[in-house]
Amino acid sequence: MWLEWTIATKFLREGRTQTALIMVGIAVGVSVIVFLSALIDGLQDNIIERTLGTQAHIKVEAPDEVNQVVPLAGGTMQLVLEDKRAQRLRSINNWQQVRDTLDALPEVTAVSPLISGPAFARRGSTLESVALMGIDEVRYQKIIPIRNDMVAGQFRVGAGDAVIGSRLAWDLGLRVGDKLRLDAGQGGDSVVNVAGIFELGVRELDSRYVYLDMKQAQSLLGLPGAATVIDVTVKDIFAADTVAQRITRLTGQKAESWMQTNGQLMNALKSQSLSTRMISLFVAVSVAFGIASVLSVSVVQRTREIGILRAMGATRAQMLRVFLLQGALFGLAGSVVGGTAGYGLVWLFNAFGPRLFQIPVSPLLLLAATILATVTGVISAAIPARRAARLDPVVAIRHV
């Protein structure tokens, strides 16, 4: 490979202008790909983080209650007028065991059983409908680190303490230390102390969530010892679907991933990724054609030299490699320059852009871009290189 390397680099250095021009072309292409991919990745990470920052990746609930129809003997016709059952609030059977099973799954990072049900919050004559969230504080923090979103007081549940959303606090005129009456119907009724106020930035949650100790919520909702939901987070959020299916098979409970509950979002993310990939692909294709055409011209220009080299004992394979190597060098050098430029663009965006979110650039993306561009270079060099290898030395030497 030494000779091929030497010839390739000398050819590139000799055709300086040509090399520089195509290099700029490749660099622009690569920087667009790097910047665009980083931008979209950053955007998506941001969206996902915002969405999943306030919800579990997978929600495990008791299976829906359906009417059981007794199967009849064959040949019998049955007409059923079915009254669908209401999905009453009920506990996951044996939820402690389910929780332990989930804890043992390697894909799962956190498991938090909770009891959740509707109630009214009352202060004076003002009534607000709320969602009671009876949580295991330590476990729940691992799913939604709500401690980071406190705007007043502290996150403390249990012993008659509750933590409420900022919107609800506003609506009821509550401050930390105030009392709040919770009425869950069915006779469950108690007064709690507002220990803290949080603001997640999601209006629905900020106006409805009331965090309580699990025991207190159980007694309010009339379900002693119950857990109605188990929140789960997973390592790879895009594998949430498969993990959810696995949980259903393992425990027999209903498991819904964030992808199902946020179908629209998933759809948007997928189309976004697809369009990024399409743009990258087309940019890569045009860069590839650029490399191919420059090398084709170069083969014509160097026809005589190729002929001489062949007469001097250089083999067809060596000539082939000389031009493949030039393609690879184009790709490699272009992507290093382009990657750096793309990185620069990202930096500019982060420093002077709209600052809605930070774009992270992973070294992996740069590495991938470099490898991709180099491979593209080799592939685009294939046709010119083959032509160089197939030149008849007799004809080539006479070429002027």
Binding site: E14, M312, A314
Partner: protein
């Protein structure tokens, strides 16, 4: 050296046609028989279109013959694949072309080393020494690091000669090596061929139009319409 190894090249009934199988098929060489031995210093003359260059290309294994056999160093070359022909060519044959044909991207010294680099890759210390010695012999040791375009035509042709000799080929082929040079430079270049022929004992086959040059060779082959029509030994060698 034993007797058979004295033979460098043998052609038997060598024919070459172009556009084989097409209506435009044309035979350029009509059956050439020829032997070249070590130390031979032979001129190949003939009118334009007589097939000189074609014969040289066939002998140089650049162009395979259509029929007949070509033995190089006793080895039959018919039916060899491209890779083996390239390897044989690289080791046994040195080329000098009319238009010196150096590679512009390389220095003079690197051009001289090219046949070795093609065969073995990165040149070793002793290869570079050999190349430098050859450059000195052609009187260019001081210009070894220049690019070809910084050399005169005569200098470039000397580099090309040094390059052709770096592998110590058994056969040195030259296609109008002085055709592009003024007569004084031409004489110098010719003298180099003579010198290396004596020094290395390589057979030299020199295509030329210049009767002064062909007269100075030991043997003159005349090609006309694809046939060798005369094969004369020189009246007498010039002696040195």
């Amino acid at each position: 050296m034993s007797e058979p190894s004295q033979e460098v090249l043998r052609l038997q009934g060598l024919r070459k046609s172009y556009n084989v199988g097409m209506p435009t098929e044309v035979e350029v060489l009509h059956g050439i028989d020829l032997r070249l031995a070590r130390n031979d210093f032979t001129a190949l003359v003939g009118a334009s279109g007589s097939g000189k260059s074609t014969l040289l290309n066939v002998i140089g294994l650049l162009d395979p013959p259509t029929a007949g056999e070509l033995y190089l160093l006793g080895e039959p070359t018919r039916g060899m694949d491209d890779a083996s022909r390239t390897a044989l060519r690289g080791g046994a044959i040195g080329f000098v072309f009319q238009f010196h044909h150096l590679i512009q991207a390389f220095t003079a010294l690197e051009n001289v080393l090219m046949p070795l680099m093609a065969a073995r890759g990165k040149p070793r210390r002793e290869d570079i020494d050999t190349a430098q010695a050859l450059m000195a012999e052609v009187g260019l040791d001081k210009l070894a690091d220049r690019k070809p375009d910084q050399l005169s035509g005569g200098q470039q042709q000397r580099v090309a000669i040094a390059r052709a000799l770096i592998t110590r080929p058994a056969l040195l082929l030259a296609d109008e090596p002085t055709g592009n040079l003024d007569s004084r430079t031409a004489a110098d270049v010719f003298a180099l061929f003579r010198r290396f022929n004596r020094k290395f004992g390589c057979a030299v086959l020199l295509v030329t139009h210049d009767s002064r040059l062909s007269d100075a060779c030991d043997r003159t082959l005349t090609l006309a319409d694809g046939l060798i029509v005369s094969d004369q030994a020189a009246r007498q060698s010039a002696g040195s």
